[in-house]
């Protein structure tokens, strides 16, 4: 049923983000989703006005201490459903182009100037990690630009499945850029399944083949600082992106540009233009804005409560806000 929709999306994704297969195989998910969003709203609204704690602890088998979570989920789901259908109906996406994408393109241009290759690593996790998928989306863009500039691209993978998918993505992107010959099978490297053996292998590539730019996009662990160090010493331009907070400091300190956490996912969504991903980033923005306002209201009320410690109304209001938000 969705075949045609998929087809359209594939064409729109001419830059070849085949890594992300398309959403919604059946209408079951759809209807279930809408039904639950509706009941969620109904429950949330009917549950809200009751007296007690301000609110009671339990209502009709619903644990009201968890009410704030329910409300947040329903808010997000509604925003997501709305944005998803709107984006799918053809409204242009509102995501802005992140400076990180320009940094990646500059890094490739620099490699072209110097006549040296670009090295890309889509993280060290397997394909079931959402970060790896985001990294592969970015890879498809990198491969497209590299093919346009006629610059060789080396991709190093730790997992064989990731390698297979990377190969397809690079092949498709080179073809889309009109230079299928830019896909060089020999440059798609599977080094080792072992974390540190893989790192040693990448170090070897950096020191022997001297890529002018190193792009790390995906899930990295403790090897991050070894990679960033070797890349820096070899004089390469480095652009990193990951959502692992513990590794970000090393990338920020040693790389020329770093996509931080959500930025990394947003860049990937921007490049893939897949409505289901774009809608989820936009919906996240909406939720953040709503709760930003909630925080500010809460701060104002708390300030008032602190200034007027004897006003029961304000205290109740603060309590009520805490119980629903």
């Amino acid at each position: 049923m969705n075949g045609q929709g998929n087809q359209q999306m594939r064409t729109r994704n001419a830059r070849g983000s085949e890594g992300r297969t398309c959403c919604f195989t059946g209408s079951v998910g759809h209807r279930l989703f809408l039904a639950l969003v509706a009941t969620g709203w109904a429950t949330a609204l009917s549950a809200a006005p009751a007296g007690g704690r301000v609110l009671p602890r339990e209502w009709n088998y619903i644990d009201l201490e968890k009410l704030p979570v329910l409300i947040a989920l329903v808010l997000f789901a509604s925003a997501y459903a709305f944005l998803y259908y709107r984006t799918k109906a053809g409204r242009p996406m509102r995501l802005r182009r992140l400076p990180g994408i320009d940094a990646i393109e500059e890094a490739i241009a620099r490699a072209t100037e110097m006549g040296r290759p670009v090295l890309f690593i889509p993280g060290i996790n397997d394909i079931d990690d959402i970060q790896t998928l985001a990294g592969i989306n970015i890879l498809s863009h990198v491969a497209y630009i590299a093919a346009e500039y006629d610059t060789p691209l080396i991709v190093a993978c730790r997992r064989s499945v990731v390698l297979t998918i990377s190969e397809e993505v690079v092949k498709a992107s080179s073809l889309a850029a009109g230079r299928p010959e830019n896909y060089i099978p020999n440059n798609m490297r599977y080094l080792s399944d072992d974390q540190f053996a893989f790192t040693a292998g990448v170090n070897g590539i950096m020191l022997r083949e001297r890529p002018a730019s190193c792009i790390y996009q995906g899930c990295f662990y403790s090897e991050s600082l070894i990679l960033a160090e070797t890349g820096y010493v070899s004089g390469a331009i480095q652009v990193a992106g990951t959502a692992n907070v513990a590794q970000l400091p090393f990338f920020v300190a040693a790389c020329d540009f770093t996509l931080i956490g959500e930025e990394f996912f947003a860049a990937s969504a921007y490049l893939s233009r897949d409505p289901s991903v774009v809608a989820s980033i936009e919906a996240s923005d909406w939720l953040k804005m709503i709760y930003l306002i909630v925080i500010l209201v809460g701060v104002a009320l708390a300030t008032a409560a602190a200034g007027l410690p004897h006003s029961q109304t304000i205290l109740q209001l603060v309590e009520f806000l805490k119980e629903i938000m």
């Binding site: 968890k66 704030p68 979570v69 947040a72 989920l73 509102r94 995501l95 802005r96 992140l98 079931d128 072992d194 540190f196 053996a197 040693a200 070897g204 907070v245 513990a246 970000l248 400091p249 090393f250 920020v252 300190a253 931080i260 956490g261 959500e262 930025e263 947003a266 921007y270 980033i281 936009e282 923005d285 953040k288 804005m289 709760y291 930003l292 909630v294 925080i295 500010l296 809460g298 701060v299 009320l301 708390a302 300030t303 409560a305 602190a306 200034g307 410690p309 205290l315 603060v318 309590e319 806000l321 805490k322 938000m325």
Partner: protein, 267 residues
């Protein structure tokens, strides 16, 4: 852990600890056969150990024992034993997971994977939404005036020197959270007030990363201290100075390998 093993076995253990510790450290010079060998031993022992724990800790008690108790209950006329047989489903899914070993059948592993992914998705959803979202939002609703004798129902900070609940600190926290959140807006252009807040937000992110960086250095160095202390504590005359002897042994192996067997193309 003295007294568990006989003196000979204990001595052997101490020697093994020193040898393996120093053999791993040779990787700092470069990848070499000694490191490769101990690394493979490590992977092998770890795998054998995990295998034991998976059966001993989970599969046996939570499936085999549960089901056999159910059978026992049925045979003694207790009908609840039948509901205990539901657990077979778990084992069947578990065995389907093993179909990944046979490429032709590997699609069967999607069923157990779907179970795991669904369970993780649901638990992460609710867990993150409560602890990392709602609780943090409520924790940020701090008063920005001084409040002698303020009520306890607000999430105030339990006081201490650096953490005294002062207006300034609360202001830092609230400003920080709000600004960093605006930094991560992706559907608004970064101009005007939002843009300014966003660029202030990145400062907070950088301080956070700096703190993380400092802490990680602390963590990594501690691990090295742990190993060196172990070596020093093991290096006793009654064991025959294993750390010294093993250092010499390991260094000799590396030197011989470098002189006799090393080829420059491998690195």
């Amino acid at each position: 852990m003295t007294g568990v093993y006989s003196p000979f076995v204990e001595g052997l253990g101490v020697w093994l600890v020193c040898f393996f510790t120093l053999a791993v450290l040779t990787f700092l010079y470069r990848d070499n056969p000694l490191y490769k060998a101990v690394e493979h031993i490590y992977v092998g022992v770890a795998a054998g150990y995990y295998f034991y724990q998976a059966f001993r800790g989970t599969i046996y008690p939570n499936f085999v024992l549960h089901v056999s108790r159910g059978v026992h209950a049925i045979s003694s006329g207790d009908a609840t034993g039948w509901t205990m047989q539901w657990r077979w489903g778990a084992a069947i899914l578990g065995i389907l997971l093993l179909s990944r070993l046979v490429p032709r059948l590997s699609w069967l592993s999607r069923w157990p994977m779907a179970l795991v992914v669904g369970a993780f998705a649901a638990l992460n959803l609710t867990g993150f939404a409560k602890a990392n979202f709602i609780d943090q939002i409520v924790g940020t609703m701090l008063p920005l005036t001084s409040y002698a004798g303020a009520p306890d129902s607000l999430p105030f900070w339990p006081g201490a020197k650096a953490a005294a609940p002062s207006v300034f600190n609360n202001l830092v926290l609230v400003t920080g959270v709000v600004c960093v959140l605006t930094y991560f807006f992706f559907s608004t252009p970064r101009t005007g007030l939002l843009g300014k807040m966003g660029s202030a937000g990145i400062w907070f992110v950088m301080i956070t990363f700096g703190a993380t960086y400092g802490s990680i250095v602390l963590a990594r160095i501690s691990l090295l201290i742990g190993r060196s202390t172990t070596l020093l504590d093991a290096n006793l005359p009654r064991y025959g100075y294993p750390a010294y002897v093993c250092t010499v042994l390991v260094l000799a192996t590396i030197v011989i390998w470098r002189l006799k067997f090393f080829r420059s193309d491998e690195d």
